[in-house]
């Protein structure tokens, strides 16, 4: 088997095992979206009566937004794991082996993508219970999962890259807190685009979170499949660029060690 793929698989299994062994972490990342869905779903229920909302119910409008928001926050913390490896000496131990260097980053990014996939499944299920139906059918369902995972891969790569540059948990936490919510609110996660102020709308156009929200909502409602596909390609590009950046950060880290 190809060395890169084999190493990636072995490391990926390590990360999955760790996630399963800390179930509290899974619970915490899921409690939040459940609260968002029930609370906001109730609070803004009548917002859809404003002309401009395409969705039949606010919960149907909101669910794809929450899926993407959870993907963003879930994956943005991914860099914490690599900092833990740096401080525990695990990274040195791995770097003293012939392990493929690219696999060390790729495994973390894939792990974040997989985690997001599972979270998205659970959120879609919970949304369904609250009445959010996927009008886009089976293709819509899979497209939402792919979109969330791509966004998760992208942000986890950025997070890992930042972690390797800053090498401090505190700095990483500060950066994530600073950017996380604005990225969410400068998107159509909670509010339809044509009801947003102009400046937010133009900002949202360049926001990968918004690409994902728009596309996920399109897939949910079964509308504008062309737009969905384009945005999916943009997200793929975003993920690839982020991985390239993280790889560069890793190279810089190894040179400076």
């Amino acid at each position: 088997m190809n060395v890169f793929l084999a190493d990636t698989l072995h490391l990926l299994l390590r990360h999955i095992r760790t996630t399963i062994r800390i179930p509290i972490w899974i619970a915490v990342t899921l409690i939040q979206p459940v609260i968002w869905l029930t609370l906001y779903g109730q609070l803004f229920r009548r917002v859809v009566e404003i002309p401009g909302f395409a969705a039949g119910s606010y919960i149907q409008f909101l669910t794809p937004g929450i899926v993407i928001m959870t993907a963003l926050f879930g994956s943005a913390w991914s860099g914490m794991g690599i900092i833990e490896d740096l401080t525990d000496g695990v990274m040195d131990r791995l770097l003293a082996t012939p392990v493929n260097r690219g696999a060390l980053i790729t495994a973390r990014v894939l792990h974040a993508g997989l985690t997001v996939l599972v979270q998205s499944l659970l959120i879609l299920g919970f949304g369904f219970l609250l009445g959010a139906r996927i009008s886009g059918g089976v293709p819509g369902f899979f497209v939402i999962l792919i979109l969330a995972s791509l966004l998760g891969c992208g942000f986890s790569a950025l997070s890992n890259g930042l972690a390797l540059v800053t090498r401090r948990e505190e700095t990483l936490i500060a950066i994530i807190n600073f950017f996380g919510l604005p990225l969410t609110f400068l998107s159509t996660a909670f509010m339809a685009a044509n009801l947003m102020p102009g400046w937010i709308r133009s900002f949202a156009r360049g926001n990968p979170v918004n690409w994902a929200v728009d596309a996920a909502r399109g897939a949910m409602l079964g509308q504008d499949w062309d737009g969905v596909l384009w945005r999916m390609l943009f997200l793929l590009a975003f993920a690839l660029v982020s991985i390239a950046l993280a790889t560069q950060a890793f190279r810089a880290y190894r040179r400076s060690a």
Partner: protein
């Protein structure tokens, strides 16, 4: 180039860390034979860890040549990595994985053939006496168990050269002795070359075939523990007094053969030629001066004396500011 390659050959190593401009290694040269347990002895901050990190391909030196297990560590680090085991000062085990999982992952990444991994991991677990804890998460391990597992991680792929950075720091004496026994056995059975760093004089003395004393980024002296101690003149007499030690110091200083007298509370540490003959003379002189001697011991020079001789400061004193 010599016909028989040493397991480790280092020439003129320099390394300055860019972020704090500290000269960590300033001209280290070493040669370690195959099947040797070689110690780098020195206080914290002496440059031991940096040297080992360079040898283990984790850090690149600013200049110098590094040959490990017959491969050039700077030009072909990948070849070196397949032939070495490295156990860092900071453990390096994955605390959320079991002992068996840690060893298995390491074996996979070290390119042990898949069919041999399970057997090899069992063998290591047995050797380290970790069989019962093998399927427990490492988070539940004691410090000593974790350190043993570290050693297993360094050995799972049967490397030619093993690097151990402060392998016994924080271990209880019993675990430490067991680790020493294990290393000696590996050396005898498998001709494993071990390079370890330590700041325990006792460890360097009892475990290492040869050692290099390293101070401020430089190798001060290299040799077997016996050779190094042999270079130090005289014996050490330790006399515990019940009276005024300062007056005792004055009484002994002028005596024939006395090289140096140091005082620690009410104990005198005297370096002297022909210790066996000198000791009764000392006791007579002290008691004659009205200073009863409570106890007296005589010993051959220790590595502590060697260290003092070559660096100009005591080992313990060098430890503190770090």
């Amino acid at each position: 180039m010599p016909a028989i390659a040493a397991a480790i050959a280092v020439e003129g190593l320099f390394k300055t860390y860019r972020n704090n401009n500290i000269k960590a290694v300033a001209g280290v040269s070493l040669s370690v034979e195959q099947g040797e347990i070689f110690g780098l002895l020195g206080p914290n901050g002496a440059g031991k860890s940096t040297t080992v990190r360079i040898l283990a391909t984790l850090t690149r030196p600013d200049s110098g040549t590094v040959q490990v297990a017959g491969c050039n560590a700077l030009e072909a680090p990948h070849d070196v990595r397949r032939r070495i085991g490295y156990v860092a000062q900071a453990s390096g085990v994955d605390k959320w994985a079991t002992g068996r999982e840690n060893l298995t992952l390491q074996a996979q990444l070290e390119r042990v053939p898949a069919s041999r991994i399970a057997g090899r991991v069992d063998e290591i677990l047995k050797w380290l006496d970790l069989e019962k804890a093998a399927d427990r998460v490492v988070k539940t391990y004691s410090g000593g168990m974790k350190r043993r597992l570290d050693l297993g991680i360094g050995l799972v792929h049967e490397p030619q050269v093993l690097f151990l950075d402060e392998p016994t720091t924080g271990l209880d004496p019993e675990t430490r002795a067991a680790l020493w026994r294990g290393l000696r056995r590996l050396k005898e059975e498998r001709k494993l070359t071990v390079l370890l760093t330590t700041h325990y004089l006792e460890e360097a003395d009892q475990l290492c075939d040869r050692l290099a004393i390293i101070d401020q980024g430089q190798v001060v002296v290299t040799g077997t523990p016996a050779e190094l101690k042999g270079k130090i003149q005289g014996d050490t007499a330790v006399l515990e007094l019940s009276g005024d030690a300062q007056r005792g110091e004055e009484l002994l200083k002028g005596l024939e053969g006395v090289i140096e007298v140091r005082r620690h509370e009410n104990t005198l540490i005297v370096r002297t030629a022909k210790g066996a003959q000198a000791l009764p003379v000392f006791i007579t002189a002290l008691e004659g001066g009205g200073l009863p001697v409570r106890s007296a011991t005589l010993s051959r020079p220790s590595l502590d004396d060697v260290y003092l001789h070559y660096t100009g400061h005591r080992f313990d004193a060098a430890e503190k500011p770090a």
